[in-house]
Amino acid sequence: MNLKKLRDMIYTCLAYLSLLLLIIPLCWILFECIIEGGHYIINRPIEFFTDIGRPPGIEGGGIGHAIQGSLYMLGLALLIGIPVGIFAGIYLAERKDSPLAKAARFVSDILVEFPTILVGVVTYTFLASKVTGILATGPAAFAASFALALIMIPIVARSVETAFLTIPNDIREGAYALGLSSRHVIFRILLPAVKTGVVTAVLIGLAKIVGESAPIIVTNGISNFWFSKWTEPAPSIPVLIYVYGLSPFKEWQTQAWAAALFLLLLIMAIGFLARRITKKLWTGV
């Protein structure tokens, strides 16, 4: 065997090894969740997804309240985060030299790297704190949504910006050459041209916030009840995993594993959906 072939083989092996290192942790976590919590979902599927948690020592119960709470929180977060993120991203791309865009880009770069727990603290202090907050509600679900939206916006904005910057400039010029207004050029020509990128941007943002627990704990506190009001604490899946997982009770720990399995599958499903939608949108031109 000559040296070239040998080197080729070594590099190929290294590539496979890195791939393995990438896949092993994911498989290991998934495996662990299935072993520890899978049986709970299989044995009590309806109860697990629809029922509220039980006190320690009493068997049964589910994470229905946390799913409901998460849906509310994420729903409001998306309602704020998607339009703001997309508009900000478009502004960053289409007015890239304006002072406002430069400032916004700087701020969003910091926000992306910002510890999410601090986003929670800031949101809580400004909005919900009974002492300093504008709305002075104390820990509340809406504050968690705002924090999640704040975490999501810079990610969506920068991804949308990147998507817009991939559009060749001659497409933009071609649209202006038809006498179209900026509004038409951006929303009728450019946005549809990168709709796949925009959908991906939103899904990346969603994947980021769906598993966040720290900012929720800081802004919303911990709740083991059904969602009732925006101005009161609500339960959520990541926080439930945190609380149940750290508890000394066997039943809670099992349910924490089961909830983790559900969350993991959910995030994988979002990723899968992103790929499917992206494909479909592109061939659907």
Binding site: G174, L178, L180
Partner: protein, 262 residues
């Protein structure tokens, strides 16, 4: 101003980032004729063309002074006080590289301009308009069975004719071409040249061309631009056969012009 003039440029200065690109150009482009703009790269041909329909305003830090008068519907308008949207509809632009909207269908590429500009609203009118313009651009027979296919599936030459049809769909009176045959094969080049010549029956054609031969084939008038200045302008035959200026002669015979000061 004379009525057989389509575009009248008066003392046009353009600078980008304080660097002067066009240094006082005055020229009258004749109506319903093909005028070719020739000159070496970097001489300001594209800037001159883009200042006619104000596409130049998309360039950051650009400064334009002087006057551009465009003859629309028999009346002269100051291009820079006219609504830029209306100006660009009446003065179409075809780019060097074909730039159809890749995510839109062949049909939609043509109808989106008239639709968004409110020229035609209902689907039937739009489709009729598209057919008419595709025929005018000599593309209809090739695409009539695949109007709903994505535009990027067309070949380069077809894409360029689609872009011409797209400009025609806005019912312009003047069409600007920026080296429209760059990168196309001989067959497609010939077809687009023939199209430009045919278009002058209804429209005024102003075309930048990189080749003196092409200018000879299509142009009624030739303008030679060098270093941001108009060096020579006149009937094609005169400019090509007996140019007045020495620089023009050097250029059309393929001599090096670098470093020649004007």
């Amino acid at each position: 101003m004379m009525e057989n003039v389509a575009v009248s440029v008066k003392d046009l200065h353009v600078s980008i980032d304080k660097k002067e690109i066009l240094k006082g150009i005055s020229i009258d482009f004749p109506k319903c004729a093909v005028t070719a703009i020739i000159g070496p790269s970097g001489s300001g041909k594209t800037m001159l063309l883009r200042s006619i329909n104000r596409l130049i305003e998309l360039i950051p830090r650009v400064e334009v002074s002087g006057k551009v008068w465009v003859n629309i519907g028999g009346k002269f308008h100051d291009a820079y006080t006219l609504d830029s949207s209306y100006l660009r509809r009446k003065v179409g632009y075809v780019f060097q590289k074909p730039n159809p909207f890749p995510h839109l269908s062949i049909l939609k590429n043509i109808t989106i301009g008239p639709m968004l500009n409110g020229i035609a609203k209902n689907k039937k009118d739009l489709k009729k308009l598209a057919e008419e313009k595709l025929k005018e651009a000599g593309l209809w027979d090739e695409v009539k069975d695949r109007l709903n296919e994505a535009a990027w599936r067309l070949s380069g030459g077809q894409q360029q004719r689609l872009c011409i049809a797209r400009a025609l769909a806005l019912e312009p009176e003047i069409i600007l071409f920026d080296e429209p045959t760059t990168g196309l094969d001989l067959y497609n080049t010939k077809r687009i040249e023939e199209l430009m010549v045919r278009l002058k029956e209804k429209y005024t054609v102003i075309a930048i061309t990189h080749s003196v031969d092409q200018a000879g084939r299509i142009a009624d008038f030739i303008a030679f631009i060098y270093n941001g200045k108009l060096i020579e302008f006149g009937p094609a035959a005169t400019v090509l056969k007996s140019p007045i200026n020495e620089l023009t002669e050097l250029f059309i015979t393929g001599k090096v012009l670098d470093g020649v000061k004007v």
